[in-house]
Amino acid sequence: MPLLSVAKLSIHFGGLAALINCSFDVEQGKIFSLIGPNGAGKTTVFNIINGIYKADRGKILFDGTDITHLAPHNVARLGVARTFQNIELFSKMTVLENVLVGQHIHLCSGILSGGLLLGRVRAEEKLAREEANNIFDFLGLTDYRSHLVSDLPHGIQTRVEMARALAAKPKILLLDEPAGGLNPQETQVLMQLIERIRSDLKITVLLVEHDMAVVMGLSDRICVLHFGQKIAEGSPGEIQKHPRVTEAYLGETVEHA
Protein backbone atom coordinates (compact mmCIF):
# COMPACT_ATOMS: atom_id res chain seq x y z
CA MET A 1 0.00 0.00 0.00
CA PRO A 2 1.37 3.45 -0.87
CA LEU A 3 2.06 5.84 2.02
CA LEU A 4 0.19 8.64 0.31
CA SER A 5 -2.49 8.08 -2.25
CA VAL A 6 -4.10 10.97 -4.09
CA ALA A 7 -7.14 9.94 -6.12
CA LYS A 8 -9.03 11.97 -8.71
CA LEU A 9 -8.48 15.28 -7.01
CA SER A 10 -10.28 18.31 -8.43
CA ILE A 11 -10.57 21.86 -7.18
CA HIS A 12 -11.92 25.07 -8.68
CA PHE A 13 -11.16 28.64 -7.67
CA GLY A 14 -14.11 30.59 -9.04
CA GLY A 15 -14.18 29.68 -12.71
CA LEU A 16 -10.61 28.45 -12.78
CA ALA A 17 -10.04 24.71 -12.60
CA ALA A 18 -6.78 24.49 -10.66
CA LEU A 19 -6.74 20.69 -10.53
CA ILE A 20 -8.65 18.24 -12.69
CA ASN A 21 -8.85 14.54 -11.78
CA CYS A 22 -5.31 14.42 -10.49
CA SER A 23 -4.14 11.05 -9.13
CA PHE A 24 -0.78 9.70 -7.97
CA ASP A 25 0.63 7.34 -5.35
CA VAL A 26 3.73 7.96 -3.26
CA GLU A 27 5.45 4.81 -2.03
CA GLN A 28 7.04 4.58 1.39
CA GLY A 29 10.70 5.61 1.42
CA LYS A 30 10.71 7.22 -2.01
CA ILE A 31 11.45 10.72 -3.21
CA PHE A 32 8.50 11.72 -5.38
CA SER A 33 8.51 14.97 -7.33
CA LEU A 34 5.70 17.06 -8.71
CA ILE A 35 6.79 19.25 -11.58
CA GLY A 36 5.13 21.48 -14.10
CA PRO A 37 5.12 25.07 -15.34
CA ASN A 38 4.02 27.93 -13.10
CA GLY A 39 0.34 27.67 -12.27
CA ALA A 40 0.23 23.94 -12.98
CA GLY A 41 -1.31 23.27 -9.55
CA LYS A 42 1.68 21.86 -7.66
CA THR A 43 1.37 24.00 -4.54
CA THR A 44 -2.40 23.55 -4.70
CA VAL A 45 -1.86 19.79 -4.31
CA PHE A 46 0.24 20.51 -1.21
CA ASN A 47 -2.41 22.80 0.21
CA ILE A 48 -5.12 20.19 -0.26
CA ILE A 49 -3.01 17.46 1.34
CA ASN A 50 -2.38 19.78 4.29
CA GLY A 51 -6.08 20.55 4.62
CA ILE A 52 -5.69 24.26 3.91
CA TYR A 53 -7.87 23.93 0.80
CA LYS A 54 -10.84 21.62 0.56
CA ALA A 55 -11.00 19.61 -2.67
CA ASP A 56 -14.25 19.74 -4.67
CA ARG A 57 -13.87 16.08 -5.56
CA GLY A 58 -11.40 13.31 -4.92
CA LYS A 59 -9.84 11.55 -2.00
CA ILE A 60 -6.51 11.52 -0.18
CA LEU A 61 -5.39 8.52 1.83
CA PHE A 62 -2.37 8.88 4.08
CA ASP A 63 -0.97 5.85 5.88
CA GLY A 64 -4.36 4.17 5.67
CA THR A 65 -6.35 7.18 6.92
CA ASP A 66 -8.70 9.29 4.82
CA ILE A 67 -7.39 12.82 5.36
CA THR A 68 -9.47 14.51 2.67
CA HIS A 69 -11.64 16.41 5.15
CA LEU A 70 -9.28 16.76 8.12
CA ALA A 71 -8.32 20.15 9.56
CA PRO A 72 -4.70 21.21 8.93
CA HIS A 73 -3.51 20.69 12.51
CA ASN A 74 -4.93 17.17 12.54
CA VAL A 75 -3.24 16.29 9.25
CA ALA A 76 0.02 17.51 10.78
CA ARG A 77 -0.53 15.29 13.79
CA LEU A 78 -0.76 12.21 11.56
CA GLY A 79 2.81 12.83 10.36
CA VAL A 80 2.67 15.23 7.43
CA ALA A 81 5.25 18.05 7.67
CA ARG A 82 5.92 20.76 5.16
CA THR A 83 8.05 23.69 4.10
CA PHE A 84 6.83 26.65 2.09
CA GLN A 85 7.69 28.25 -1.21
CA ASN A 86 8.15 31.60 0.54
CA ILE A 87 9.72 30.66 3.83
CA GLU A 88 7.13 30.90 6.60
CA LEU A 89 9.19 30.78 9.75
CA PHE A 90 8.35 32.43 13.05
CA SER A 91 10.82 35.19 12.37
CA LYS A 92 10.67 36.90 15.76
CA MET A 93 11.72 33.68 17.45
CA THR A 94 15.10 32.01 17.68
CA VAL A 95 16.04 29.00 15.58
CA LEU A 96 15.69 26.79 18.65
CA GLU A 97 12.24 28.14 19.47
CA ASN A 98 11.09 27.48 15.91
CA VAL A 99 12.18 23.88 16.22
CA LEU A 100 10.49 23.56 19.61
CA VAL A 101 7.24 24.73 18.00
CA GLY A 102 7.84 22.08 15.35
CA GLN A 103 7.96 19.48 18.12
CA HIS A 104 4.64 20.77 19.45
CA ILE A 105 2.63 17.65 18.64
CA HIS A 106 5.00 15.42 20.57
CA LEU A 107 5.12 17.46 23.76
CA CYS A 108 2.14 16.69 25.92
CA SER A 109 2.50 18.93 28.96
CA GLY A 110 -0.71 20.80 29.73
CA ILE A 111 -1.30 24.47 30.28
CA LEU A 112 -1.10 24.43 34.07
CA SER A 113 1.90 22.16 34.46
CA GLY A 114 3.53 23.97 31.54
CA GLY A 115 3.15 27.22 33.40
CA LEU A 116 4.57 25.81 36.60
CA LEU A 117 7.46 23.90 35.02
CA LEU A 118 6.91 20.72 36.99
CA GLY A 119 9.36 17.84 36.99
CA ARG A 120 7.81 15.77 34.23
CA VAL A 121 7.69 18.80 31.99
CA ARG A 122 11.32 19.52 32.72
CA ALA A 123 12.29 16.02 31.62
CA GLU A 124 10.20 16.39 28.51
CA GLU A 125 11.73 19.77 27.71
CA LYS A 126 15.21 18.33 28.19
CA LEU A 127 14.47 15.51 25.78
CA ALA A 128 12.98 18.01 23.34
CA ARG A 129 16.14 20.10 23.46
CA GLU A 130 18.34 17.04 22.92
CA GLU A 131 16.30 16.07 19.89
CA ALA A 132 16.52 19.63 18.63
CA ASN A 133 20.32 19.45 18.97
CA ASN A 134 20.37 16.24 16.92
CA ILE A 135 18.43 17.98 14.18
CA PHE A 136 20.82 20.95 14.29
CA ASP A 137 23.77 18.58 13.94
CA PHE A 138 22.07 16.83 11.06
CA LEU A 139 21.38 20.05 9.19
CA GLY A 140 24.54 21.91 10.22
CA LEU A 141 22.63 24.56 12.15
CA THR A 142 24.28 24.20 15.55
CA ASP A 143 26.01 27.59 15.35
CA TYR A 144 22.74 29.37 14.64
CA ARG A 145 20.52 27.86 17.32
CA SER A 146 20.15 31.01 19.43
CA HIS A 147 19.95 33.43 16.51
CA LEU A 148 16.75 35.26 15.71
CA VAL A 149 15.45 33.86 12.44
CA SER A 150 14.97 37.32 10.93
CA ASP A 151 18.74 37.95 11.26
CA LEU A 152 19.71 34.91 9.16
CA PRO A 153 20.41 34.77 5.42
CA HIS A 154 17.95 33.08 3.09
CA GLY A 155 19.99 29.91 2.59
CA ILE A 156 20.14 29.27 6.33
CA GLN A 157 16.45 30.06 6.77
CA THR A 158 15.64 27.33 4.23
CA ARG A 159 17.45 24.84 6.43
CA VAL A 160 15.78 26.18 9.58
CA GLU A 161 12.44 25.55 7.95
CA MET A 162 13.51 21.98 7.20
CA ALA A 163 14.67 21.62 10.80
CA ARG A 164 11.27 22.76 12.06
CA ALA A 165 9.51 20.32 9.75
CA LEU A 166 11.79 17.42 10.81
CA ALA A 167 11.19 18.25 14.47
CA ALA A 168 7.66 16.94 14.08
CA LYS A 169 9.15 13.50 13.24
CA PRO A 170 6.98 13.24 10.16
CA LYS A 171 6.33 10.16 8.04
CA ILE A 172 6.28 12.32 4.94
CA LEU A 173 7.96 15.65 4.26
CA LEU A 174 6.44 18.02 1.70
CA LEU A 175 9.10 20.37 0.31
CA ASP A 176 7.82 23.28 -1.75
CA GLU A 177 10.64 24.63 -3.93
CA PRO A 178 13.42 24.17 -1.37
CA ALA A 179 16.08 25.19 -3.91
CA GLY A 180 14.38 28.50 -4.74
CA GLY A 181 16.82 31.37 -4.30
CA LEU A 182 19.79 29.15 -3.45
CA ASN A 183 23.18 29.43 -5.15
CA PRO A 184 24.73 26.34 -6.82
CA GLN A 185 26.79 25.34 -3.77
CA GLU A 186 23.80 25.68 -1.45
CA THR A 187 21.74 23.64 -3.90
CA GLN A 188 24.37 20.86 -3.79
CA VAL A 189 24.21 20.80 0.01
CA LEU A 190 20.42 20.77 -0.15
CA MET A 191 20.37 17.78 -2.46
CA GLN A 192 22.63 15.81 -0.14
CA LEU A 193 20.39 16.75 2.77
CA ILE A 194 17.21 15.60 1.05
CA GLU A 195 18.88 12.33 0.11
CA ARG A 196 19.97 11.82 3.73
CA ILE A 197 16.52 12.68 5.04
CA ARG A 198 15.26 9.76 3.00
CA SER A 199 18.12 7.34 3.66
CA ASP A 200 19.13 8.18 7.26
CA LEU A 201 15.83 9.37 8.73
CA LYS A 202 13.65 7.06 6.61
CA ILE A 203 11.27 9.88 5.76
CA THR A 204 9.35 9.81 2.49
CA VAL A 205 9.74 13.04 0.51
CA LEU A 206 7.21 14.75 -1.76
CA LEU A 207 9.03 17.47 -3.65
CA VAL A 208 7.90 20.43 -5.73
CA GLU A 209 10.88 21.99 -7.48
CA HIS A 210 11.70 24.04 -10.55
CA ASP A 211 15.43 23.28 -10.62
CA MET A 212 15.54 20.30 -13.02
CA ALA A 213 19.00 19.23 -11.87
CA VAL A 214 17.59 18.75 -8.37
CA VAL A 215 14.46 16.96 -9.58
CA MET A 216 16.27 14.62 -11.97
CA GLY A 217 19.10 13.99 -9.55
CA LEU A 218 16.94 13.06 -6.56
CA SER A 219 13.59 11.68 -7.66
CA ASP A 220 12.57 8.06 -7.77
CA ARG A 221 9.39 9.03 -9.53
CA ILE A 222 8.12 12.20 -11.11
CA CYS A 223 4.58 13.34 -11.81
CA VAL A 224 4.11 16.14 -14.34
CA LEU A 225 1.21 18.56 -14.04
CA HIS A 226 0.10 20.94 -16.75
CA PHE A 227 -2.79 23.35 -16.22
CA GLY A 228 -4.11 21.22 -13.39
CA GLN A 229 -3.94 17.94 -15.25
CA LYS A 230 -1.48 15.10 -14.89
CA ILE A 231 0.18 14.56 -18.25
CA ALA A 232 2.84 12.03 -17.31
CA GLU A 233 4.33 9.99 -14.51
CA GLY A 234 7.46 7.88 -14.41
CA SER A 235 11.14 7.65 -13.53
CA PRO A 236 13.41 10.62 -14.36
CA GLY A 237 14.61 8.80 -17.48
CA GLU A 238 11.09 8.15 -18.70
CA ILE A 239 9.98 11.72 -17.99
CA GLN A 240 12.91 13.21 -19.90
CA LYS A 241 11.95 11.20 -22.98
CA HIS A 242 8.20 11.71 -22.66
CA PRO A 243 6.99 13.62 -25.75
CA ARG A 244 4.14 15.49 -24.02
CA VAL A 245 6.44 16.60 -21.20
CA THR A 246 9.15 17.97 -23.45
CA GLU A 247 6.44 19.74 -25.39
CA ALA A 248 4.72 21.20 -22.35
CA TYR A 249 7.54 22.07 -20.10
CA LEU A 250 11.00 20.61 -20.10
CA GLY A 251 11.96 21.66 -23.62
CA GLU A 252 15.56 22.80 -23.67
CA THR A 253 16.17 22.02 -20.00
CA VAL A 254 16.39 18.33 -20.86
CA GLU A 255 19.39 18.81 -23.10
CA HIS A 256 21.29 20.66 -20.41
CA ALA A 257 20.31 18.37 -17.56
Binding site: M93, L100, V101, S109
Partner: protein, 288 residues
Protein backbone atom coordinates in the same frame (compact mmCIF):
# COMPACT_ATOMS: atom_id res chain seq x y z
CA UNK B 1 6.35 62.77 50.15
CA UNK B 2 6.97 62.83 46.40
CA UNK B 3 8.27 59.26 46.66
CA UNK B 4 5.05 58.21 48.31
CA UNK B 5 3.01 59.82 45.56
CA UNK B 6 5.11 57.97 43.03
CA UNK B 7 4.52 54.66 44.77
CA UNK B 8 0.77 55.15 44.79
CA UNK B 9 1.12 56.25 41.16
CA UNK B 10 2.79 52.94 40.37
CA UNK B 11 -0.11 51.16 42.06
CA UNK B 12 -2.65 53.03 39.92
CA UNK B 13 -0.41 52.39 36.93
CA UNK B 14 -0.38 48.66 37.62
CA UNK B 15 -4.13 48.62 37.14
CA UNK B 16 -3.81 50.42 33.80
CA UNK B 17 -1.04 48.02 32.89
CA UNK B 18 -3.31 45.05 33.58
CA UNK B 19 -6.01 46.54 31.36
CA UNK B 20 -3.46 47.31 28.65
CA UNK B 21 -1.98 43.83 28.97
CA UNK B 22 -5.37 42.16 28.50
CA UNK B 23 -5.96 44.27 25.39
CA UNK B 24 -2.49 43.66 24.01
CA UNK B 25 -2.57 39.89 24.47
CA UNK B 26 -5.79 39.55 22.51
CA UNK B 27 -4.58 41.98 19.87
CA UNK B 28 -1.25 40.24 19.44
CA UNK B 29 -2.54 36.73 19.10
CA UNK B 30 -5.84 37.28 17.31
CA UNK B 31 -5.57 40.76 15.80
CA UNK B 32 -8.79 41.76 17.54
CA UNK B 33 -9.39 44.81 19.72
CA UNK B 34 -11.53 43.99 22.73
CA UNK B 35 -13.43 47.05 23.91
CA UNK B 36 -15.23 44.98 26.56
CA UNK B 37 -12.04 44.29 28.54
CA UNK B 38 -13.15 46.66 31.32
CA UNK B 39 -16.67 45.25 31.42
CA UNK B 40 -15.23 41.75 31.80
CA UNK B 41 -13.52 43.10 34.90
CA UNK B 42 -16.73 44.74 36.12
CA UNK B 43 -18.80 41.58 35.66
CA UNK B 44 -16.41 39.36 37.57
CA UNK B 45 -16.35 42.01 40.30
CA UNK B 46 -20.11 41.76 40.58
CA UNK B 47 -19.88 37.98 40.70
CA UNK B 48 -17.69 38.31 43.79
CA UNK B 49 -20.03 40.95 45.22
CA UNK B 50 -23.00 38.60 44.80
CA UNK B 51 -21.08 35.79 46.43
CA UNK B 52 -20.13 37.58 49.61
CA UNK B 53 -22.79 40.26 49.95
CA UNK B 54 -25.93 38.50 48.82
CA UNK B 55 -25.12 34.80 49.25
CA UNK B 56 -22.95 35.29 52.32
CA UNK B 57 -19.84 33.36 51.34
CA UNK B 58 -16.47 34.32 52.78
CA UNK B 59 -14.53 37.08 51.04
CA UNK B 60 -11.59 34.83 50.19
CA UNK B 61 -13.83 32.24 48.56
CA UNK B 62 -15.72 34.97 46.72
CA UNK B 63 -12.53 36.45 45.31
CA UNK B 64 -11.46 32.99 44.20
CA UNK B 65 -14.79 32.51 42.41
CA UNK B 66 -14.36 36.00 40.93
CA UNK B 67 -11.07 34.93 39.29
CA UNK B 68 -12.61 31.68 38.11
CA UNK B 69 -15.62 33.48 36.65
CA UNK B 70 -13.35 35.93 34.83
CA UNK B 71 -11.78 33.02 32.94
CA UNK B 72 -15.24 31.72 32.08
CA UNK B 73 -16.34 35.19 30.92
CA UNK B 74 -13.30 35.37 28.62
CA UNK B 75 -14.04 31.94 27.17
CA UNK B 76 -17.74 32.69 26.69
CA UNK B 77 -16.94 36.00 24.96
CA UNK B 78 -14.61 34.20 22.57
CA UNK B 79 -16.95 31.32 21.81
CA UNK B 80 -20.18 33.32 21.57
CA UNK B 81 -19.14 36.62 20.02
CA UNK B 82 -15.72 36.43 18.46
CA UNK B 83 -15.39 32.96 16.96
CA UNK B 84 -18.52 33.21 14.80
CA UNK B 85 -16.98 36.36 13.32
CA UNK B 86 -13.55 34.79 12.84
CA UNK B 87 -13.52 35.62 9.13
CA UNK B 88 -14.97 39.11 9.58
CA UNK B 89 -12.71 42.17 9.38
CA UNK B 90 -11.10 43.12 12.70
CA UNK B 91 -13.10 46.34 12.77
CA UNK B 92 -16.36 44.35 12.88
CA UNK B 93 -15.10 42.43 15.87
CA UNK B 94 -14.19 45.71 17.55
CA UNK B 95 -17.78 46.92 17.09
CA UNK B 96 -19.09 43.56 18.35
CA UNK B 97 -17.07 43.94 21.55
CA UNK B 98 -18.15 47.57 21.85
CA UNK B 99 -21.76 46.40 21.63
CA UNK B 100 -21.05 43.66 24.13
CA UNK B 101 -19.58 46.19 26.56
CA UNK B 102 -22.76 48.30 26.40
CA UNK B 103 -24.97 45.25 26.87
CA UNK B 104 -22.84 44.05 29.78
CA UNK B 105 -22.91 47.47 31.43
CA UNK B 106 -26.67 47.94 31.07
CA UNK B 107 -27.37 44.30 31.92
CA UNK B 108 -25.31 44.58 35.10
CA UNK B 109 -27.26 47.77 35.91
CA UNK B 110 -30.53 45.89 35.62
CA UNK B 111 -29.36 43.18 37.98
CA UNK B 112 -27.24 45.11 40.49
CA UNK B 113 -28.35 48.75 39.88
CA UNK B 114 -25.95 51.51 38.88
CA UNK B 115 -25.00 52.37 42.47
CA UNK B 116 -21.50 52.22 43.84
CA UNK B 117 -20.69 49.43 46.25
CA UNK B 118 -17.90 48.94 48.73
CA UNK B 119 -15.64 46.07 47.78
CA UNK B 120 -13.31 44.47 50.34
CA UNK B 121 -9.61 44.51 49.57
CA UNK B 122 -7.60 41.33 49.68
CA UNK B 123 -4.83 43.34 51.33
CA UNK B 124 -4.50 45.15 54.69
CA UNK B 125 -5.12 48.88 54.53
CA UNK B 126 -2.57 49.93 57.20
CA UNK B 127 0.63 51.63 56.10
CA UNK B 128 4.07 50.11 56.19
CA UNK B 129 7.42 51.84 56.36
CA UNK B 130 9.81 50.87 53.63
CA UNK B 131 12.97 52.87 54.19
CA UNK B 132 12.04 56.49 53.55
CA UNK B 133 8.65 55.72 52.18
CA UNK B 134 5.46 54.93 54.02
CA UNK B 135 3.36 52.75 51.79
CA UNK B 136 -0.25 51.77 52.02
CA UNK B 137 -0.76 48.01 52.23
CA UNK B 138 -3.30 48.11 49.42
CA UNK B 139 -0.89 49.85 47.05
CA UNK B 140 1.82 47.38 47.98
CA UNK B 141 -0.55 44.48 47.36
CA UNK B 142 -1.53 45.83 43.96
CA UNK B 143 2.09 46.28 42.91
CA UNK B 144 3.15 42.87 44.21
CA UNK B 145 0.22 41.02 42.63
CA UNK B 146 0.71 42.72 39.29
CA UNK B 147 4.44 42.02 39.41
CA UNK B 148 3.93 38.33 40.14
CA UNK B 149 1.28 38.01 37.43
CA UNK B 150 3.56 39.66 34.87
CA UNK B 151 6.43 37.34 35.78
CA UNK B 152 4.24 34.26 35.49
CA UNK B 153 2.97 35.44 32.11
CA UNK B 154 6.50 36.20 30.96
CA UNK B 155 7.74 32.72 31.82
CA UNK B 156 4.62 31.13 30.41
CA UNK B 157 5.00 32.80 27.03
CA UNK B 158 8.78 32.56 26.92
CA UNK B 159 9.36 28.99 28.05
CA UNK B 160 6.23 26.86 28.19
CA UNK B 161 5.23 24.74 25.24
CA UNK B 162 1.74 26.20 25.14
CA UNK B 163 3.03 29.76 25.44
CA UNK B 164 5.54 29.22 22.64
CA UNK B 165 2.80 27.72 20.49
CA UNK B 166 0.65 30.79 21.18
CA UNK B 167 3.48 33.08 20.11
CA UNK B 168 3.80 30.99 16.96
CA UNK B 169 0.11 31.47 16.22
CA UNK B 170 0.44 35.22 16.67
CA UNK B 171 3.21 35.28 14.07
CA UNK B 172 1.77 33.02 11.41
CA UNK B 173 -1.51 31.20 11.77
CA UNK B 174 -0.97 29.08 8.68
CA UNK B 175 2.48 27.90 9.64
CA UNK B 176 1.26 27.20 13.18
CA UNK B 177 -1.62 25.10 11.85
CA UNK B 178 0.81 23.01 9.85
CA UNK B 179 2.86 22.41 13.00
CA UNK B 180 -0.23 20.72 14.44
CA UNK B 181 -1.25 23.67 16.61
CA UNK B 182 -4.97 24.32 16.86
CA UNK B 183 -5.45 28.01 16.18
CA UNK B 184 -8.98 28.00 17.62
CA UNK B 185 -7.75 26.50 20.86
CA UNK B 186 -4.97 29.05 20.98
CA UNK B 187 -7.48 31.89 20.50
CA UNK B 188 -9.73 30.51 23.23
CA UNK B 189 -6.76 30.25 25.56
CA UNK B 190 -5.78 33.85 24.82
CA UNK B 191 -9.27 35.02 25.79
CA UNK B 192 -9.17 32.88 28.91
CA UNK B 193 -5.86 34.45 29.96
CA UNK B 194 -7.12 37.94 29.12
CA UNK B 195 -10.26 37.18 31.12
CA UNK B 196 -8.15 36.08 34.08
CA UNK B 197 -6.14 39.30 33.89
CA UNK B 198 -9.40 41.28 33.91
CA UNK B 199 -10.47 39.28 36.97
CA UNK B 200 -7.24 40.11 38.78
CA UNK B 201 -7.92 43.71 37.73
CA UNK B 202 -11.36 43.54 39.36
CA UNK B 203 -9.97 42.21 42.63
CA UNK B 204 -7.34 44.96 42.71
CA UNK B 205 -9.29 47.91 41.41
CA UNK B 206 -12.80 47.55 42.87
CA UNK B 207 -11.66 48.20 46.46
CA UNK B 208 -9.98 51.44 45.31
CA UNK B 209 -12.59 53.00 43.03
CA UNK B 210 -15.68 51.15 44.36
CA UNK B 211 -17.61 48.55 42.46
CA UNK B 212 -20.04 50.00 39.95
CA UNK B 213 -21.28 49.35 36.44
CA UNK B 214 -19.12 52.27 35.26
CA UNK B 215 -15.98 50.60 36.53
CA UNK B 216 -15.28 49.18 33.08
CA UNK B 217 -14.47 52.67 31.79
CA UNK B 218 -10.97 52.13 33.13
CA UNK B 219 -10.42 50.39 29.78
CA UNK B 220 -9.97 53.88 28.28
CA UNK B 221 -6.88 54.33 30.42
CA UNK B 222 -5.86 50.83 29.39
CA UNK B 223 -6.02 51.86 25.74
CA UNK B 224 -4.07 55.03 26.48
CA UNK B 225 -1.44 52.99 28.34
CA UNK B 226 -1.12 50.45 25.54
CA UNK B 227 -0.76 53.17 22.93
CA UNK B 228 1.68 55.21 24.99
CA UNK B 229 3.84 52.12 25.49
CA UNK B 230 3.53 51.07 21.86
CA UNK B 231 0.43 49.30 20.60
CA UNK B 232 1.00 45.56 20.43
CA UNK B 233 4.07 45.53 22.66
CA UNK B 234 3.68 43.62 25.92
CA UNK B 235 6.51 45.36 27.80
CA UNK B 236 5.17 48.59 26.30
CA UNK B 237 1.72 47.95 27.80
CA UNK B 238 3.24 47.50 31.24
CA UNK B 239 5.52 50.51 30.95
CA UNK B 240 2.79 52.73 29.47
CA UNK B 241 0.39 51.85 32.27
CA UNK B 242 2.88 52.60 35.01
CA UNK B 243 3.92 55.88 33.35
CA UNK B 244 0.31 57.00 33.08
CA UNK B 245 -0.33 56.08 36.71
CA UNK B 246 2.70 58.01 37.97
CA UNK B 247 1.87 61.08 35.85
CA UNK B 248 -1.72 61.06 37.04
CA UNK B 249 -0.63 61.00 40.68
CA UNK B 250 2.35 63.33 40.48
CA UNK B 251 0.64 66.03 38.39
CA UNK B 252 -1.75 67.19 41.16
CA UNK B 253 1.26 67.37 43.48
CA UNK B 254 2.61 70.32 41.49
CA UNK B 255 -0.46 71.67 39.72
CA UNK B 256 -4.09 72.27 40.65
CA UNK B 257 -5.78 68.92 41.13
CA UNK B 258 -8.20 69.34 38.24
CA UNK B 259 -5.19 68.78 36.02
CA UNK B 260 -5.09 65.15 37.07
CA UNK B 261 -6.84 63.92 33.94
CA UNK B 262 -5.22 66.34 31.53
CA UNK B 263 -1.51 65.76 32.08
CA UNK B 264 -1.39 62.04 31.25
CA UNK B 265 -3.21 62.54 27.98
CA UNK B 266 -1.19 65.62 27.11
CA UNK B 267 1.93 63.49 27.58
CA UNK B 268 0.36 60.74 25.48
CA UNK B 269 -0.22 63.16 22.61
CA UNK B 270 3.27 64.61 23.04
CA UNK B 271 4.94 61.19 22.92
CA UNK B 272 2.96 60.16 19.87
CA UNK B 273 3.99 63.34 18.04
CA UNK B 274 7.65 62.55 18.65
CA UNK B 275 7.37 58.76 18.27
CA UNK B 276 4.11 57.80 16.56
CA UNK B 277 4.55 54.11 17.32
CA UNK B 278 4.71 54.67 21.08
CA UNK B 279 7.65 54.19 23.40
CA UNK B 280 8.41 50.52 22.72
CA UNK B 281 6.40 50.13 19.55
CA UNK B 282 8.04 48.91 16.39
CA UNK B 283 7.43 50.36 13.02
CA UNK B 284 5.52 47.96 10.88
CA UNK B 285 7.88 46.57 8.30
CA UNK B 286 6.33 45.52 5.05
CA UNK B 287 8.02 43.20 2.63
CA UNK B 288 8.36 44.92 -0.71
Amino acid sequence: MLLQVIVSGIATGCIYSLMALGLTLIYKSTGHVNFAQGEMSMLSGFVAFTMFHILGFSVTFSLFICLLSSIVIGLVMERLLVRPAIRAPHFNVFIITLGASIVMQSGAGLIWTHDQFLFPSAFPSETFSLGFVRVNGISLGIIATTGVLMLVLYFFFKYSKTGTAMRAVSESQNAALLMGISVKRSFALTWAISGFISGVGAVLIAPVIFLSTRMGLVVINGFAAAILGGWGSIPGAVLGGIMLGILENVAPYYFPSQIRNIIPFAVLVGVLIIKPTGIMGEEEKRRV
